[in-house]
């Protein structure tokens, strides 16, 4: 044994004791504030867990998926109907995507209402918004890959929105689709985005997100005793393991109880009667139907800007913390009500 150790040490001449020490300091003894013993406050790891599971199931799906108009739908059918445990892998991937967005909504809401974005953590909020945008792009491109009627037309309608971007809209759309229409080029482009570029960006920003988080430490919300910490291992570590197993169980159950279907194969000549995006685009979709397209896009853009830079906007509104908090809670509550309202409205019509 010691021979092997010696051999390895000579090939990887690192200071082993130092390595252990750093590992202890960074991971095992990471100070976690006392309030994180409550489940409600430690759900930031959920998106991370789900992302890891998405990466894993995604790799497995890539063994069988073929991104071409002739084969995409057929290969999804093959995975679900022929490949052993294929329905499970795809179910996990599909439900994982939905839960990912859901958990991000919850995470964002929690961070907003505990005002964890305040100085000096403003940039981490911005990075988080970027991550949220990446997750939505992930979902959109992934959804389009199955190449059934709904995904084809969602891709068509969704990419059409890009045309409204001032000046470069037309060229951007042409570039994204790889042509005038949604074709084989679009499918391979979306596939490349989905399995290569987006994961790369996501991992990068996720890393930044966690580094910034660790540099400042987890923020301590008001109303909890300050300065009390416990080490990451074992309490929090096992919490994450439990959360992982719980999520796997939930996703597996959902896959069995509500298996994601594969729909009808894409038919570029017929638009289906009822065409809707995935539920997380409902608020935007409903809103865009309510107002003229140009107005809708500019208002959505303005909202996104305000949302992204809220940590920088909030301090400008008042010098008094109490007033700022009231404004933030008001704005947050209003956003939440509108978002939920539009979502429910869209799901009822």
């Amino acid at each position: 044994m010691s021979n092997v150790k010696q051999w390895l040490k000579e090939r990887f001449p690192i200071d082993y004791d130092k390595f252990v020490e750093i590992n202890e300091r960074i991971f095992i003894k990471e100070p976690i504030p006392e309030h994180m013993k409550k489940w409600w406050y430690c759900m930031g790891a959920t998106p991370l867990i789900l992302f890891s599971l998405q990466a894993l199931t995604g790799i497995f799906l890539a063994f069988y998926f073929v991104p071409s108009p002739e084969m995409a739908y057929e290969s999804v059918r093959h995975i679900v109907e022929d490949v052993r445990f294929g329905f499970w892998i795809r179910g996990l991937h599909r439900w994982g995507a939905n839960l990912m967005i859901l958990s991000l909504f919850l995470h964002i809401t929690r961070v907003f209402f505990t005002r964890a974005y305040q100085k000096p953590r403003e940039l981490n909020w911005v990075i988080g918004v970027v991550l949220f945008g990446l997750a939505l792009t992930f979902s959109f491109t992934g959804y389009s890959l199955t190449y059934n009627q709904l995904s084809y037309w969602a891709a068509t309608v969704g990419t059409n929105l890009i045309k409204s971007v001032p000046l470069i809209g037309e060229s951007l759309l042409y570039f994204l689709r790889g042509g005038q229409e949604v074709t084989a080029n679009t499918l391979t482009r979306f596939y490349m985005l989905h399995v290569w570029f987006l994961p790369l960006f996501l991992v990068f920003f996720l890393f930044l997100h966690i580094v910034v988080l660790r540099l400042h430490g987890v923020s301590e919300p008001e109303g909890f005793p300050k300065g009390k910490y416990f080490p990451f291992y074992p309490h929090h570590f096992y919490k994450i393991i439990i959360a992982t197993l719980f999520l796997l169980a939930v996703m597996s159950s959902l896959t069995i109880i509500l298996p994601p279907g594969i729909g009808l194969p894409a038919d570029p000549t017929t638009t289906p009667f009822h065409i809707k995006p995935e539920w997380y685009f409902y608020p935007t979709y409903r809103f865009l139907q309510l107002v003229p397209l140009k107005v809708g896009i500019y208002v959505t853009g303005a909202f996104l800007l305000a949302f992204t830079f809220w940590p920088f906007i909030e301090p400008l509104l008042s010098k008094k913390n109490e007033v700022r908090r009231k404004i933030s809670y008001g704005v947050g509550a209003l956003t939440l009500i509108i978002t939920l309202g539009l979502t429910i409205w869209e799901s009822l019509v």
Binding site: F63, R84, I89
Partner: protein
């Protein structure tokens, strides 16, 4: 003392159960993963195909038919009927039956097979491929592999 002993046994059993369950779970996971990644081997399926009536191929004669695009020879030998693929085992040219010499000849590289498909001379590396033959009443059938369509088979 006895209590302590009990305690030890209890914690041993508990740990054993937990670690055992973990092993089972991890094992099952990898088993399922293997099943997912390793497509099941399909048994080849054959079906019967009528190639000739017995009286249409007299002793010492051969009849050429087509299976799709591929030529097949039904040969009547003293010990019964044999059916050969007409594709030369050398480089895939199509052989022809030479009745007067009772042999198959491949014009591409002068490969010669006798009437039982064995290589007599020339470059072919192995005898002509044969089909399993069945005679029923006065009909000759062969078994050909069932090729189910679709890109996954």
């Amino acid at each position: 003392m006895i209590n302590e002993e009990n305690q030890k046994r209890r914690s041993f059993l508990k740990n054993f159960a937990i670690i055992g369950a973990l092993f089972v779970a991890v094992g099952l996971f990898f088993r399922d993963l293997w099943l997912y990644l390793y497509p099941p081997r399909k048994k080849k399926k054959f079906h019967k195909y009528l190639v000739a009536k017995t009286d249409s191929v007299p002793l010492g004669k051969a009849k050429e038919i087509k299976l799709g695009k591929d030529p097949v020879f039904v040969v009547h030998l003293p010990d019964g009927y044999r059916v050969f693929s007409g594709i030369c085992t050398h480089l895939g040219c199509i052989v022809r039956w030479e009745e007067e010499k009772q042999r198959f000849f491949c014009p591409c590289h002068k490969g010669v097979y006798d009437k039982t498909g064995k290589v007599i001379s020339g470059p072919p590396p192995r005898p002509l491929d044969q089909f399993k033959v069945e005679e029923e009443k006065n009909l000759v059938y062969i078994y050909i592999e069932q090729k189910t369509g679709g890109p996954w088979s």
